[in-house]
């Protein structure tokens, strides 16, 4: 118990003193996970909308695959992204392994199925007749899709929250493709693991608190937007 108490006290001191390294790690985590979430929203919402609005053979199998991929283990993603980005791998020519870009790629792979799966469900829960109603008012197909996305906006914000929550908290992929290089690819989760293994519980606790606060504030903003939309 003393260990925890001391850890928390030291963590508070570290937080108040605005330690440069911790600020850099926090900023990198936010930047990497934010960009990965943004990419996954672009790909996931588009793919989810296409899947939801079109009938094609194998649709059920595809949806079940997407739903399965929503629980993709980050270490598995980390492994395959590493193989792809490895010097001799198919994308080795990019030379981005052990850079923040590699973490963005890996986290995008983790978050995209989450956003896709939630988008499919969100669009499909809008009555089919709503599409016909929109078209009957003279909408083009693009206008119809845009209206449906607006109708599904609360669920889509939930998709963004789930996607961001999934990547900000993952560690397996970040450590495998980023390498936890100090001042370059070290993010909050990888730093927490490293400090814990070194026995620096105070720093690890400080990093954990920051991670929790970061996730909380991002979700607070998104929840605020979502609930404002719910009231409207």
């Amino acid at each position: 118990m003393d260990l925890i108490k001391e850890g928390i006290l030291k963590a508070i001191k570290l937080l108040i003193s605005l330690d440069r390294e911790i600020i850099d790690i926090t900023f990198l985590s936010f930047k990497v996970s934010g960009i990965a979430t943004f990419i996954s929203v672009i790909i996931g919402v588009s793919a989810g909308t296409l899947i939801a609005l079109n009938e094609f053979p194998g649709k059920r199998i595809l949806v079940s695959l997407v739903n399965t991929a929503m629980g993709l283990p980050p270490v598995v993603v980390g492994l395959f992204v590493t193989i792809f980005l490895w010097r001799n791998g198919p994308l080795g020519f990019l030379g981005i392994l052990y850079t923040p870009y590699a973490i963005i790629v890996a986290q995008s792979v983790i978050a995209t199925p989450i956003v896709t799966g939630i988008t499919v469900a969100a669009i499909q829960q809008i009555p089919k007749k709503m599409r016909l109603q929109i078209l009957s008012l003279g909408a083009s197909r693009m206008q119809m899709v845009w209206m449906l996305l607006k109708e599904a906006r609360l669920s889509l914000l939930a998709a963004v929250m789930a996607g961001f929550g999934g990547v900000i908290s993952e560690i397996g992929a970040s450590i495998m493709v980023g390498g936890n290089i100090k001042g370059y690819t070290r993010v909050l989760t990888t730093a927490t693991v490293m400090e814990t293994s070194k026995g620096n519980f105070d720093v690890a606790i400080a990093l954990s608190i920051i991670l929790l606060l970061l996730a909380y504030f991002i979700n607070l903003i998104l929840t605020h937007m979502q609930q404002r939309g719910h009231r409207r």
């Binding site: 009555p127 007749k129 109603q133 009957s136 008012l137 003279g138 083009s140 209206m147 109708e151 409207r232």
Partner: protein
Amino acid sequence: MPVIEAKDISVNRKEQKILNIFNMRIKEGEVVSLIGPNGAGKSTLLMTLSCLYRKFSGKILFKGLEVGKDITPFEYRRNISMVFQEPLLFNTTVFENVASGLKFRRFNRKERRKIVYENLERFGITHLSNRLARTISGGEAQRVSLARAFTIRPNIIFLDEPFSSLDKPTKDGLMEDLGRNIRDLKITAIFATHDRDEALRLSERVIVLNQGEIVQDGSPNDVMNYPCNEFVASFSGMETILSGTVVKNEGGIITVLASGEYIDVAGDIAAGKKVILCIKPEDIVLYPVSQKLKSSARNTFTGTITRIVPSRFYQKIYINCGFPLVAYITNSSAMTLEIAEGIKIRASFKATSVHLIKQ
């Protein structure tokens, strides 16, 4: 030239033909009701005519232009609007809902505001303009849905049972406003319903559908009083429908043997022909058995009341006269005649009130 024409329309679902329309023409400004029971194909026909349902064979012509050939379905849809049974409002304000069709057509803000308020007023919902669509009642929501459809001033408006989920007072008020606006704006309206009273109230032409096919097309008077077959007769409120054979033809009066009873009917059909007799319940007059009857009605039968179904203003009386007969009488008449199940009663109807269908 008809505003819309359907030629050889056929829709199949799971190898079953669910719609088969040989030819249907609707004139500009006409208000047409499609009536028929559930599953008759009314909604499928509306969806097909509006090109919202595209898996059909045949041609849809809009003002002589073939949709899909001379004009695209999108261009065609810019001339129509549709109101469904459910209001299907967007999750935003009433104003934004009503403005949606104008936004799709890129009207500017000022124009939108003017047109939206005109149409909110048409349906008496100006006071709801800033309310959220999800917070208004079912009747108000259907008014918003109608205002939204009218805002784009369509050439044709398709209405798919828009009143079926509303209570009677709400429905009556809304039908009144809808009828007035359709007439005022001279919009062509095609209205699907399974309620013949709605059809009679709103339309000037009635098309009866059954199993995906048009069985009768005519004025409300024709369809209600001169049904072309047993199905339409039953749907148009002919409660007594009997099959029989003409046994005598005496200059304008024929005698038909139906269920062992002889019934006189005004008509001219040769003896030996099979016919169907249709009698409306409001054309049957009931008397106590004890009353000596002198009347111009040529058909009088004594029967037993088998069932009484009370309604708000009248009672529906089922009588077994050797054949089943259904009559409506007012509640006060029922009290005067001391109507009760099991009692004997005399029923009469005129030869001219029997509608005859040749088989």
